[in-house]
């Protein structure tokens, strides 16, 4: 067991555990709605039109942008719409989506397999495969995986995050129990792709079965499977690295800056599928849980399947529900079950509707500071965030908050502290943007002034030159005229003399 575990954090027992590790396969839906905008990176451009026939796994949107991954059809059928649809986001905004009506056949495109021979592939080829399979961080962050793999220089350690980041989510646990061989193989592929010396698969110690099954399939001495104490926020990459390697990633830097690469176990499985089977990312494992369902379970669902069609299999009760995408700590509340599952939907919480607890004033009891894994002073941050004193909040390290929600969870006054910090961060971002924009505007204005002045002075100079030239010309002409006049006079004089 590890002794260097990070400070703070909280142990939260899983309120609605999924007892059966079996993953229920949800049949391909009648209609799949695929979002073009991913959580990180630009929006993909559709490369199909309404009415086109597509096969499962076919690329339907893509772009040349490095940060953007292609999107694949998750079912076979006909494109029925390319338009704005509501997406699972707390603000309830709409975004561009492609809708596919199923033909019921689920016919796949021809897959391009690499087979077991991935070692003969160059790392660049593997990274390219990861990108073209549309893989993003499956733990919830949604960061494009190929960027992460190719960004690291001189990787020394690959960390596979199998901690299951939040209480309630069980999808990684069941994934490990069902696909241990694929996960070990996926880890080997990543080791090859980033040429790290060793890999650590980190599992929380409450997942004994998952640990055993991985152990059974691991025959690679570069890969260790490490159990860590079950404590919330141990899934945050920097804290996980601290627990495993006893190094702190410096504030403001990424793990890759110290040569550590951290990937979610779901991502690793997806990499295996992409590289070995040539299967793009068209489905994922989703936990459905919460007080509003009788039968919490893990499902494998195609992307674009609606929440409702998955939830209905977990026997939801008849009460009014509060729906949340993601875990109980960091998930986002959404207002409908008609949204579709996307690449980062690791969990759907269906909770019976309960009135919000009464919020009291902050008495600076410091419970929040004690659980903060970053050792921030949320009680001070709250004070300055509330009054929008962003400078003060930054002095108290607002930008280092990982928004894990431990502080909100323990607050005896039920203050939604993290919401204040997210808000303050947004205000800060806006202020920086505004300042930048004002800067650009000022530069533009100054340049314009300079330009006008320059034009004016140039013009004046030119005019002066012209004037001078004209004057000279006129003087010359006058001279000429005078000369001519002189000559005429002379001529006429001599004529007179002759006549005389």
């Amino acid at each position: 067991m590890l002794s260097n575990i990070f400070r703070g954090g909280i142990h939260i027992p899983n309120p609605y555990p999924v007892k059966n590790p079996k993953i229920v396969k949800v049949p391909p839906p009648e209609k799949a709605v695929l979002i073009l905008q991913q959580k990180v990176g630009g929006q993909a451009k559709p490369c199909v039109e309404v009415g086109d026939k597509v096969l499962t796994g076919q690329v339907i949107a893509g772009t040349s942008s490095q940060y953007c991954v292609p999107i694949h059809a998750s079912i076979s059928g006909t494109i029925s719409a390319i338009d704005k649809q509501p997406i699972p986001h707390p603000s309830g905004i709409d975004a561009m989506c492609i809708t596919i009506e199923s033909d019921g056949k689920d016919k796949w495109v021809e897959k391009e397999e690499c087979g077991a021979d991935f070692l003969s592939c160059k790392p660049e080829q593997i990274i390219d495969k990861i990108r073209s399979a549309g893989i993003v961080g499956m733990g919830g962050a949604g960061f494009p995986t190929h960027i992460k793999v190719s960004s690291v220089k001189n990787a020394n350690t690959l960390v596979v995050n199998a901690t299951e980041c939040e209480p309630g989510i069980m999808c990684d646990d069941s994934l490990m129990q069902n696909y241990p061989r694929e996960i070990i193989r996926g880890t080997e592929i990543l080791l090859h792709a980033c040429s790290a010396k060793k890999a650590i698969i980190a599992i929380e110690d409450d997942k004994q079965e998952a640990f055993n099954s991985l152990l059974m399939y691991n025959h690679n001495d570069k890969i260790t499977i490490q159990r860590i104490p079950t404590k919330y926020t141990s899934g945050a990459d920097k804290l996980l690295i601290k627990s495993l390697l006893d190094v702190e990633v410096p504030a403001g830097k990424h793990p890759s800056d110290i040569g550590v690469l951290c990937h979610n176990v779901g991502t690793v499985k997806a990499i295996h599928d992409a590289v070995i089977d040539g299967r793009p990312l068209v489905s994922r494992i989703v936990t459905v849980t919460g007080s509003g369902v009788e039968d919490p379970k893990n499902y494998e669902a195609r992307l674009g399947t609606s929440f409702a069609s998955v939830v209905s299999q977990s026997k939801p009760n008849k009460q009014k529900h509060k729906i949340r995408m993601g875990g109980m700590m960091m998930g986002v509340d959404v207002n409908s079950d008609q949204y579709s599952i996307c690449k980062i939907t690791n969990c759907i919480f269906i909770n019976n509707f309960e009135p919000e607890p009464q919020v009291n004033e902050c008495i600076r009891c410091s419970s929040c500071n004690q659980v903060c894994p970053i050792n921030l002073l949320p009680q001070q941050l709250y004070w300055s965030s509330k009054s929008e004193s962003i400078d003060k909040a930054l002095e108290y390290n607002l930008d280092n908050c990982i928004e894990c929600g431990c502080c909100s969870y323990v607050c005896p006054s039920n203050i939604p502290l993290v919401d204040y910090f997210v808000f303050a961060k947004a205000v800060n971002k806006k202020q920086i943007n505004d300042a930048e924009r004002a800067d650009i505007a000022r530069q533009r204005f100054e340049y314009r002034e300079f330009r006008i002045e320059r034009n004016m002075s140039e013009r004046a100079e030119m005019m002066a030159k012209k004037k001078k030239a004209l004057k000279e010309k006129m003087a010359k002409e006058k001279q000429q005229k005078d000369k001519i006049a002189d000559a005429i006079q002379r001529v006429s004089k001599s004529k007179e003399n002759k006549d005389a």
Binding site: Q358, C365, S366, L377, Y409
Partner: protein, 314 residues
């Protein structure tokens, strides 16, 4: 989805319960006086806060039920003489609630400890009533009579031990010739000490402030008595006289007005201890918890800013 720990209201209630031991000791030695003061103080607090909340157009029931006004009243009632006339506690609690707390926007926004602000106000405004202490046990009837008819005070009143020592020393007596031990004071302090230990165990308060508070008193008392031992009260007597333990565990630990960082709390508590001994030994007042706490309240924003803990990765 919140923690299963205590809510803010429960924290306030727990602190009131923890005061019971000290109050019990006071009842044992002096009878009903302290209880009557508490009852009167609590009623005043609820009325004063309700009226002010109505003026501020705030939710009366929600705020009263947070228990902070009641806690302020109990702390002040415990701190003042148990035989003070009824209007002392009424004026003091009203001042504490209105000018100590509500005027800043209520719980959580007050820079000063409200109970100590009320105490300092009373001490400056009514020095006679605030320095006339009960010396013997009184029956319920006697206590009640004194509360409303303060003129019969002389038979049962006297100075506190700290006051007597101060007067004795100022008259040129050596500390050896003065009686410095008071069993009632020692037991009441012990009561508050054990109540405070309960709060520590429940993790409602943290060790830093009480420990550094006591250390501040002990170190300062020791240092100023070096080479001049008969002119100053020894350190151990400082700890068991006056409001020391009440201050260490219940007053200085008020989270709203105290420093909130682990290192800051040590500095804050220690300096309160230093100030208490300095004021008791060289100042004009026999006891000094209130002034020391109020003075240190002013420094809290500065202490907090410069004692931020090291954050992850920095």
């Amino acid at each position: 989805m919140r923690s299963n720990g205590l809510s803010t209201n429960q924290i306030m209630r727990q602190v009131v319960y923890a005061l019971a031991l000290g109050i019990g000791a006071s009842y044992y030695f002096f009878g009903w006086g302290v209880l009557l003061q508490i009852i009167l103080g609590v009623i005043t607090a609820v009325v004063a806060e309700s009226v002010f909340l109505l003026l501020r157009k705030q939710d009366v029931k929600k705020t009263i039920s947070d228990g902070s006004a009641i806690l302020t009243a109990v702390l002040l009632a415990v701190a003042i003489p148990s035989i003070a006339p009824w209007w002392i506690i009424v004026v003091g609690v009203s001042f504490a609630i209105i000018f100590g707390k509500q005027i800043y926007g209520g719980l959580g926004n007050n820079p000063f400890n409200p109970a100590m602000l009320g105490y300092a106000f009373l001490l400056i405004s009514y020095p006679l009533q605030m320095s006339t202490w009960q010396v013997d046990f009184l029956s319920f009837g006697q206590s009640l009579e004194l509360l409303f008819n303060w003129t019969n005070i002389d038979a049962v009143s006297g100075a506190t031990r700290l006051d007597a020592v101060k007067t004795g020393l100022s008259l040129g007596n050596s500390i050896d010739n003065l009686q410095v031990y008071s069993s009632s004071q020692a037991w009441i302090n012990a009561g508050f000490l054990f109540g405070g230990l309960y709060l520590l165990l429940r993790r409602i308060i943290f060790w830093q402030i009480p420990a550094s508070f006591i250390a501040g008193i002990a170190v300062t008392a020791f240092l100023i008595s070096i080479g001049n031992a008969d002119a100053y009260l020894p350190a151990h007597n400082h700890l068991i006289l006056g409001g020391t333990m009440l201050g260490a565990f219940f007053i200085a630990t008020d989270p709203v007005s105290a420093s909130t960082t682990p290192r800051g709390r040590i500095i804050y508590g220690f300096l309160i201890g230093v100030l208490i001994v300095v004021i008791r030994s060289f100042g004009g007042y026999p006891d000094a918890v209130a002034f020391a706490v109020l003075l240190m309240n002013i420094t809290v924003p500065l202490i907090d800013y410069y004692t931020q803990p090291r954050i992850f990765g920095k």
